[in-house]
């Protein structure tokens, strides 16, 4: 039987594999590091079979950052036109004072981008908003507009003035970029770090003319666009044209703008003066904000990636934003800081995009196709192989240890082993059900819940009372082994599966008119003239009839969504040389000498992650839930350790749960005997279900303790006693407690109230 199992491993990968040539671990994700992958070279097939990679890679240079201030056309930064001189100098280009960067001619699309970023009217509220545009030249623009407290460029420092002047004088009015870099100088007041290093002249300038500052504030919020704009004359010409021929849409916006601006006559008359003031006068700017638009331009073929990962990208944009704020506090090194921030943003996106993903994560896949023999068999043989390597005394039962850690923190599996209500069985309401194997697919009767959101929350363990955000990293130097471990873990790391029903039958369309003309929903590639048909009667004019739907149109409709998998699923990644804290499950490859570095890296990323992306997205979705606890499990398969990082705490999980060890042992034994994979998974399900029912018993015991108070015989409750009553090994108690905490959050606190000899130290 074992030989039969082995055969699976040599079978060609499932049909879904479309990208064979790309399916190998690429080194140096995003960061261009040059680690060798020789150690994995001999076992590519595992990586190929268990992980997949997209057709193309996202490269940093293909992305562009544009930072515009106040108006459409004041460029603070543009990665397309401000480049590092290291990457090759352009003759005639102006350079930054330190010579590290050069300023090229302003990009022609800046105005257009500015309009998209800011809209036609200055942003009304102070709220940061995210936007997405599809650009014409196969690009897309993801942008965020935010406000920063600002005083305009204060001439507080002669040296900087010189720079400013030199840059300004060498810059056509048409290209405002380098000049405006300095327009953020005044920000330094408002950034905490800068406060201590505040230079006297700035303070001096603060106390000056209040009236001016008001004018100036009006100017900055509203008039700047025209004044500092790339081409005020042409833009106003545009407006006039519009006024003549189009509805008052844009005209109105202009009007509104003016209405919002009590001093608009002043502005109109004194454009130049105001401009001067904005730059050269200083002000008390506490109340003043500057609107900054930050746009990231990506290739349109990243569209699906962007749509799918938007919550994460938005989180990264927020991080970038805060780094822009910090950079603005250090005008002298503004460009440099932005460069760094942009690099870290883009490499993060590259990692997110380019890292291989688990091919058919076991659990999600089995939910979708419960009787998929191939997946089940492959999982079992990979698990058996992995356990042969990692489930030994020498490896300190590493696999069981990781699985224990996963079950303790990624809690969504609990719901997957909780049986349906017995009443259904008694009332005979159960339909056809699987009677063994992993959970059958039952369809949620919850309305109005976005399955994508649900999946996202579940997969990171944010369920029930145990509101935590957990992720697991398997690190080591053997890519194939990591892939296998990740594959195995994807069975225990569970979430709702988003099912794409592709079998909507045409019979349900009986009587529904579905003109072929409209079948191609998004892409009207056909050059045939639609107007003809509508004028001439065509489908619109009422042949209500029972037009048979061409089956091809249905196919088109459905095919376009073939690859729309949930964000949650995309967070199960394969091995990579770079680490992204966005992944719920991932592998971190490293050379043996850098193992401590990787732990540091994960820890660092984790802390910076805490305030960003998913955490905030989750907060948005479930505002009433407490901020989830961030937990990262780091499983090291060179040292065979499992560490759990929580906040700044790091605890090592020294021994696995006995139940899990037994499960693995039983599994391996039976697998050797050739027991069917379906039965093997069923046995594992029973173990999990057993853990759940034991945790209920544990709950009862501990709740008794809490409710009755300290009765004499309970006062001395020990972990031995608890384990004996529950009927488990003492090493299981920690796991059981964590399970109990999901549906009975008070249990942990009640435990803390009573003596500590119980379970917390097991």
């Amino acid at each position: 039987m074992a030989k039969i199992m082995m055969r699976y491993l040599t079978l060609p990968a499932p049909k879904r594999r479309r990208t064979d040539k790309n399916n190998r671990i690429r080194n140096g994700e995003g960061k261009g590091t040059s680690h060798s992958i020789s150690s994995t070279h001999s076992s590519h097939e595992y990586v190929d079979e268990l992980c997949w990679m997209g057709d193309h890679r996202l490269e940093e240079p293909s992305m562009r950052l544009v930072l515009l201030a106040e108006s459409e056309c004041r460029v603070l930064f543009d990665s397309a036109t401000i480049t590092s001189t290291k990457e090759g100098e352009v003759i005639g280009a102006r350079k930054s004072p330190d010579g590290r960067y050069q300023f090229l001619r302003r990009s022609e699309d800046t105005c257009e981008l500015g309009q998209m970023l800011f809209g036609t009217m200055a942003a009304t509220g102070g709220t940061a908003s995210v936007k997405m545009h599809t650009l014409g030249d196969n690009k897309m623009l993801v942008s965020r507009v935010f406000t920063m407290p600002v005083g305009s460029c204060t001439r507080n420092d002669e040296r900087r003035n010189d720079q400013c002047d030199s840059v300004a004088s060498s810059c056509d009015s048409e290209y405002g970029c380098p000049l405006t870099v300095h327009s953020l100088d005044g920000l330094s007041h408002y950034v905490k770090k800068a406060a201590s290093s505040c230079i006297p002249p700035e303070k001096f300038s603060l106390t000056r003319n209040h009236r001016r500052s008001r004018q100036s504030s009006l100017q900055t919020s509203c008039g700047g666009g025209v004044m500092d704009g790339c081409d005020p004359s042409s833009s106003s010409t545009d407006w006039d044209d519009l006024r003549a021929l189009s509805p008052p849409h844009r005209v109105f916006s202009r009007t509104r703008r003016d209405e919002a601006l009590p001093a608009n006559s002043l502005q109109d008359d004194q454009n130049n003066l105001m401009g001067l003031r904005s730059r050269f006068s200083s002000m008390s700017a506490e109340t003043e904000v500057k609107t900054v638009g930050m746009g990231v331009i990506l290739e349109a073929n990243e569209r699906h990636f962007v749509l799918q990962h938007m919550p994460l990208i938005e989180g990264e944009l927020r991080r970038l934003e805060s780094r822009v704020q910090v950079a603005a506090a250090h005008p002298a090194s503004f460009i440099h800081h932005i460069f760094e921030a942009w690099h870290s943003f883009s490499s993060c996106l590259c990692t997110l995009h380019n890292t291989s993903r688990l091919r058919d994560p076991v659990w999600i896949h089995l939910l979708r196709k419960p009787r998929d023999s191939f997946t089940t068999a492959r999982f079992c043989s990979v698990l058996a192989e992995t356990s042969a390597i990692c489930e030994t005394k020498q490896t300190k039962f590493f696999l069981s240890n990781v699985v224990t850690a996963i079950l303790m923190h990624h809690m969504a599996w609990i719901a997957s082993v909780a049986p349906p209500p017995v009443k259904m069985a008694v009332d005979g309401k159960m339909g056809e059900m699987e009677s063994y194997g992993p959970s059958s697919l039952s369809i949620s009767s919850l309305h109005g819940v976005n399955p994508h959101v649900a999946q996202l929350l579940e997969i990171s363990g944010c369920v029930g009372g145990a509101s935590r955000s957990a992720r697991t990293v398997v690190c080591g130097s053997d890519g194939a082994l990591i892939s296998k471990i990740l594959h195995c873990l994807s069975y225990f790391l569970r979430c709702t599966s988003i099912v794409h029903r592709e079998d909507v039958t045409p019979e349900s369309m009986h009587g529904v008119q579905y003109p072929e003309e409209e079948s191609n929903l998004m892409h009207h590639h056909d050059s045939s003239d639609h107007s003809d048909s509508s004028i001439g009667g065509g489908s619109m004019n009422g042949d209500v009839g029972h037009v048979e739907v061409p089956s091809s149109s249905v196919t088109t409709l459905l095919a376009s969504h073939e690859h729309q998998s949930g964000l949650g699923e995309s967070l199960l990644a394969g091995p990579s040389y770079s680490y992204s804290p966005h992944f719920v499950l991932s592998g971190l490859l490293r050379s043996s000498e850098s193992k401590y570095k990787s732990l540091m890296m994960i820890s660092d990323e984790m802390s910076s992650y805490a305030d960003s992306s998913l955490a905030s997205a989750r907060q948005e979705m479930c505002p009433s839930s407490p901020t989830p606890e961030n937990v990262t499990i780091v499983a090291d398969c060179t040292e065979w350790t499992v560490k759990v990082l929580t906040g700044d705490m790091m605890t090592e999980l020294h021994s696995p749960s006995e139940s899990i060890v037994q499960m693995m042992e039983t599994f391996s034994g039976l697998h050797r005997e050739g027991v069917s994979p379906h039965v093997l998974t069923d046995i594992m399900e029973d173990t999990l279900s057993d853990l759940l029912s034991k945790s209920i018993a544990l709950t009862e015991i501990l709740q008794l303790e809490g409710s009755i108070g300290r009765l004499a015989n309970l006062n001395s409750i020990t972990s031995e006693r608890v384990a004996a009553v529950v009927g488990c090994d003492q090493s299981d108690l920690r796991l059981l407690l964590n399970i109990a905490a999901v549906y009975c959050p008070t249990i942990l606190s009640s435990l803390n109230d009573s003596e500590d000899d119980g379970d917390s130290d097991v």
């Binding site: 309009q115 998209m116 509220g125 908003s129 995210v130 936007k131 599809t134 650009l135 014409g136 021929l245 509805p247 799918q308 938007m310 939910l367 969504a412 719901a415 997957s416 082993v417 909780a418 049986p419 349906p420 017995v422 259904m424 069985a425 008694v426 159960m430 009677s435 194997g437 059958s440 039952s442 369809i443 009767s445 819940v449 976005n450 959101v453 649900a454 029930g464 709702t496 529904v512 008119q513 929903l521 998004m522 739907v549 409709l557 459905l558 969504h561 948005e620 009433s624 034994g669 050739g674 069917s676 039965v679 069923d682 209920i696 709950t699 009862e700 015991i701 009553v725 529950v726 549906y743």
Partner: protein, 657 residues
């Protein structure tokens, strides 16, 4: 699935005892966070117009409702006809019957000045569409009657029409150079300037919600610049909702936009041509500007009319305007149902369970579009194409995604229950409302029995437990039927349901093969050959209707011939430990016995599978692989009966190949 987590999560778990389950609790793991979202706005679709007189106005809003008026409590809902709903579109219903206070209130919400151009169905009308399957009602009205939604939609409308600069949807998907020769080419030269900023954009933030906007213009001969500005917006508080459906939603909106534009263009040409027979001669002095204006422009008397309504602009002979409105409601139906909930099988059988109702919000006024018949008629007879097409495309869209929820398999006991006939279910007192309490009572009785036997200081308790869990026959004699039943049910907790062959009310002895737990009236003759554990109850004749065995004593009249094995089965030790432990309460006992029972049933499953393997294994090996030992043999073999038929028949003997 529908239970609400109380105060977040239950602190005192209440469960149905037998066969499961953790029900409430573990399920809460999934539900807690999901339920929170149910109250939040999911998505609203609105149609907006930049009125030449009044500025940006929301003119039509469609939103899902989950509670009113045909929501969850379907029993209270009006009795909708069951016939194919698509053909049953229109039904007038007095608002009192609809019982929709929000809707009535909503009429007063909109205080903005409006003209015909920025009015659709007025404040006195609403469309209701009830979808039974998802128990969702879609309400379309001029503006939303929900304050929160109204604010968000208005804000999004303002941004959509006056602030945001969209990008053309064609640009991205079409080659830039259009082949010439389209009839609308001349107006489109006019359009170019006006429309270049129209199009699609996604924007939003947590505070105002997220919006997908599609801005577009319709040609109108009486508009300034021959164009009027409109937009579709989809507003949701969840970014992911819109983004996950982004392209398909956009596709639908673009489709509707295209239809409207084509209709409008046709009307535009008709109006410009003014009959169409005259030649379109251009005076020499105008020649240089001739290609900048539409054909017929010079002949036309300039007569700007700001308040032309949508039907006039797109031409109402095919009722596109009205259809549009209905399409919107249908569209949002698709949106509301992106989470499909019906089982696949039932879905195939059903057709659309959608009821369309047009409800005047006051019984007296039907609003300016008083012709509800037209709307309904438009859908049922001619010109229903757009609406139906939208329904279909969106429906298929919505059916595509559903939530494969996490839920465990039914336990063996549950499967067995399903296979039992109702008589046996009743005999075992399963599935009753307060089953958990009943189980606790049963376990209290179990305690009484075991304590009674333990006092005898012989192997009586071991005997009882051993015979129970290995399938030996236990016959109980008593004077009260209730007490006999209570005795049997108490013991039944130690076994899987499939192992229970119970008769508490027999009048004569029956073979062990027929009943392993048998209750007989005191004095019934037991044949000498019956190798059973015979227990007689004393003092139960006074119990009457009570199910409690308190004060009842037990005498063992006969012991089976087999001697107790040594060592005793592990399960026996475990059960004994639990039932005689005074520190274990009934609740703990219930949880631990259940978990122990399930654990051993799981071991039995492994044994079962090994027995089916083609390889002949030694018994010892099979038991060890099942995490049992030779002393557990009798228990395990008996417990094989606890496996459901479904399990046994579905299991395949070896690997799938």
């Amino acid at each position: 699935m529908e239970q609400q987590p109380k105060n977040g999560l239950p602190t005192s778990p209440k469960r149905v005892s037998r066969a499961s389950s953790i029900e409430g609790e573990a399920r809460c793991a999934k539900l807690t966070h999901l339920m929170r979202q149910l109250t939040r706005m999911q998505a609203v679709i609105a149609f907006c117009h930049f009125c030449e007189s009044h500025g940006p106005r929301v003119i039509f809003t469609t939103q899902p409702l989950r509670s009113l008026p045909f929501g969850e409590g379907t029993s209270d809902a009006p009795d909708w006809p069951n016939e194919s709903s698509l053909n049953y579109i229109s039904r007038n219903l007095p608002v009192s019957e609809v019982n929709h206070p929000e809707l009535i209130k909503g009429a007063a919400k909109d205080r903005e000045a409006r003209c015909t151009a920025c009015t659709s169905i007025g404040n006195q009308m609403a469309y209701l569409s009830a979808d039974k399957r998802t128990q969702t009602t879609f309400v379309s009205s001029q503006v939303s009657f929900d304050d929160g939604v109204l604010d968000k939609v208005k804000y999004a409308c303002l941004r959509s029409l006056t602030i945001e600069v969209g990008t053309s949807t064609e640009k991205a998907t079409k080659p830039p150079a259009k082949p010439g020769g389209e009839p609308c080419s001349s107006p489109s030269t006019v359009n170019t300037k006006g429309t270049e900023r129209d199009g699609n954009v996604f924007f939003g933030d947590a505070q105002h919600g997220y919006t997908m906007s599609l801005t577009f213009r319709l040609e109108d001969s009486r508009a300034r610049g021959f164009l009027r500005l409109y937009s579709f917006i989809v507003v949701s508080s969840q970014m992911q909702f819109i983004l996950n459906n982004h392209d398909s939603l956009l596709g639908h909106l673009v489709n509707m936009k295209n239809r409207l534009q084509r209709s409008a263009t046709r009307i535009f040409h008709l109006e410009m041509d003014g009959g169409g027979s005259q030649s379109d001669a251009v005076r020499p002095e105008n020649a240089p500007r001739a290609n900048m204006v539409p054909q017929g422009w010079f002949r036309r008397r300039m007569n700007v009319e700001p308040s032309r309504d949508l039907q006039t602009i797109v031409g109402d002979e095919n009722s596109s305007g009205l259809h549009l409105l209905l399409s919107l409601s249908l569209l949002s139906m698709g949106v509301g149902r992106h989470l499909n909930t019906g089982p696949l099988s039932s879905m195939r059988k059903r057709r659309f369970d959608v009821e369309e109702v047009i409800v005047p919000t006051t019984t007296t006024t039907l609003g300016r579009m008083g012709s509800t018949g037209n709307i309904g008629g438009g859908l049922t007879t001619g010109g229903g194409g757009l609406a139906r097409q939208m329904l279909w495309t969106l429906r298929s869209e919505s059916l595509r995604l559903f939530d494969g929820a996490l839920e465990g398999l039914p336990t063996q006991d549950m499967l067995v229950i399903r296979e039992l006939d109702t008589e046996r279910v009743a005999e075992l007192s399963l599935g009753s409302e307060n089953e958990h309490e009943k189980t606790l009572d049963q376990l209290e009785n179990l305690r009484r029995i075991t304590r009674g036997l333990e006092k005898m200081n012989d192997d009586s308790l071991d005997r009882l437990l051993y015979h129970t869990i290995t399938g030996g026959q236990i016959v109980i004699l008593g004077s009260s039927r209730n007490s006999i039943r209570a005795f049997i049910l108490a013991l039944s907790n130690l076994l899987p349901i499939g192992c229970l062959r119970v008769n508490s009310g027999s009048l004569s002895y029956a073979h062990p093969n027929k009943h392993n737990l048998l209750g007989l009236p005191k004095g019934t003759e037991i044949p000498d050959w019956a190798d059973c554990l015979l227990i007689q109850m004393e003092g139960d004749d006074m119990k009457g209707e009570s199910d409690s065995l308190e004060g009842v004593s037990f005498t063992i009249l006969r012991r089976p011939s087999v001697s107790l094995p040594s060592p005793l089965p592990s399960l026996l030790i475990r059960y004994k430990q639990l039932v005689i432990d005074g520190g274990v309460t009934e609740n703990v006992l219930e949880a631990t016995i259940r978990s122990t029972r399930d654990q051993w049933l799981a071991k039995t499953k492994i044994l079962f599978q090994l027995m089916r393997q083609p390889t002949q294994y030694s018994l010892n090996m099979m038991l060890i692989s099942s995490r049992a030992a030779i002393r557990d043999r009798d228990v395990m073999f008996f417990w094989l009966e606890g496996l459901s038929k479904a399990y046994r028949s579905q299991s395949c003997p070896s690997s799938p190949h």
